[in-house]
Symmetry: C2
Subunit: 300 residues, 2 copies
DNA sequence: CATGATTTATGAATTTATTTCATCAATAAA
DNA sequence: TTTATTGATGAAATAAATTCATAAATCATG
């Protein structure tokens, strides 16, 4: 029977590149690993490793076991860490994932009161997912997903938690600041600064420029919101961000913002979570708190 | 350290309702289970079971372990069965899931030549998913998903494999059979027979009746296509099915079909699969075969 | 409430599995 | 060829799981 230990060993050999190293990393003798591998190979009558010179290479069978290990081991570890927390009388860790850059600023405002209200609960916020936020939610890597596009799935429930308007941001002295709202053609001669993500996830493109068949003069990407805004204030380009974010960060009022199109681009942030199976009820508590502190930036 | 065996034991006690029964089902002594549970409880310093009378009830901690077990154990079992097949020199099992009832008939036509071409590969077709087809694909319960709605996810690739037209089916003597195509209002006085699935998954409603703000006189559901068609032939109602399916099943030509709306409702079936990690390459082979035998029922 | 049937818990013994130790064989570099 | 380095192997030691026998608790029943 394949055991958790076997998975750990196969994974360690694979990542370390050799049995000797893997043995050290697992605090076991090299012999132990060799015996363990031999046991798997004899019980299933399938080689797991093939020797090429003195490198060990996974066989097809080995690769399927490694796949199992990579899917399954993190889940063991997470459950164990939950158990440890329970033993200490603490509540769980709420792992929140985010799919949109400026979500983070909003999240901070909910996380702070949540941590205060539930001192025995921890929050962990993750921004990067190897396989996308939904997968992470799904594969139990996170418990809550903050996202602007609630992809309907049977097992996942979304709750709208925040409405906001996405506006074009420019320096107060920028010519476009004199307009009452922005039209797609207005951006043809501008430098647009965005976060470094796929274009398909940027609303300025998908909902504004592309439908109007317009393009910008230049497109730069910047990671951090603060730097982005400094660039914009310095007249080096324009960007599109949630209105509330600008109102909050632009203390010296160096920035102006205008709606994208006459109606403006209106967005909703959703919190997605798996249906059922929330040991501490933390997910529900967080959503409740997010809703109670609900503030709309959407002029409603 | 929580082990696969611990998970099996917790799951067995939970499903059997008692340790004694669980012990029998696992071919172990009751004492073994008791000791195993005690070990988990002492290493994590958390109770897993609470005794209510002489029933065992899972604690919060127990429920998280059970959750882990239910997510993880099937994956162990599947990997093991793959290993057994590899040992026999066989190729894997291709587990295909379906999300639309009439897909099955189409699938049969691809599966037959596939099994002939790859005699060492097995195919398993599943129709019911506890958490939806995508979840099943994702959670490694199936390898291939045949679906009419390709929900875009980063980890899943869709290949269109079949175009068809969804038509309204009626008995040849039915008054609607005299029309050249069906309009939504035509159905207001009809009994509509469908498969027993959510309305949101039925195109007659979503793409035809609801947009036109029309309703049918009555709505009946029937599981099997054959019975459905007999009901229709007997003049007991009308139904909506792929055109090719009718052409194939209606040998005595008791049935007539007409397009839903002048353009008709045109659908595409997609085969979805996880990116990467297909130990035998069976997924690719199947898709290739599905495409090579590609027949369009869409008049193109 | 006493009795018997049934269920879980426990300590000691037993069996099974894992790990180490010492050593060999194979590989790659010097 | 010599010399590290790496994996493989059998025997011994250690650790873990399992059983056995039995106790304690629960529940139904006369």
């Amino acid at each position: 029977m394949i055991d958790r230990q076997h998975l750990k060993i196969i994974k360690a050999i694979y990542t370390c590149g050799s049995m000797t190293e893997a043995a050290a990393s697992l605090h076991l003798s090299q012999s132990a690993l060799s015996h363990a591998m031999k046991k798997v190979e004899t019980t299933y009558k399938v080689p797991v490793w093939r020797k090429e010179g003195r490198k060990l290479v996974l066989t097809q069978a080995g690769r399927s076991i490694l796949g199992l290990a990579e899917r399954v081991l993190p889940q063991f570890e997470h459950t164990e860490s939950m158990l440890h927390r329970m033993a200490q009388g603490k509540q769980g860790i709420l792992r929140i994932g985010m799919e949109c850059h400026p979500c983070f600023e909003w999240l901070l405002k909910v996380v702070a009161p949540f941590l205060k209200a539930y001192p025995d609960a921890d929050v962990d916020v993750r921004r990067a997912f190897s396989f996308g936020g939904l997968q992470a939610l799904h594969g139990f890597d996170i418990d809550l997903l903050l996202t602007p596009d609630p992809l309907r799935l049977d097992t996942i429930t979304y709750t709208p938690v925040f409405n906001y308007e996405q506006v074009l941001v420019m320096s107060t002295s920028h010519p476009l600041a004199s307009k009452s709202f922005i039209q797609p053609v207005d951006l043809c001669s501008e430098t647009l600064i965005t976060y470094p993500v796929e274009l398909s996830r940027l609303d300025v493109f998908c909902q504004f420029l592309t439908p109007a068949n317009c393009a910008v003069k230049a497109h730069k990407t910047i990671e951090t919101t603060e730097i982005m805004l400094q660039m914009v204030a310095a007249g080096r380009g324009v960007t599109a961000l949630p209105k509330w974010l600008i109102q909050e960060l632009d203390e010296q009022s160096e920035l102006a913002f205008r709606s994208l199109g006459e109606p403006g681009i209106h967005k909703t942030l959703y919190l997605g979570h798996r249906k059922g199976g929330d040991p501490f009820g933390l997910v529900d508590k967080f959503i409740e708190m997010a809703l109670s502190g609900l503030h709309n930036d959407d002029g409603e």
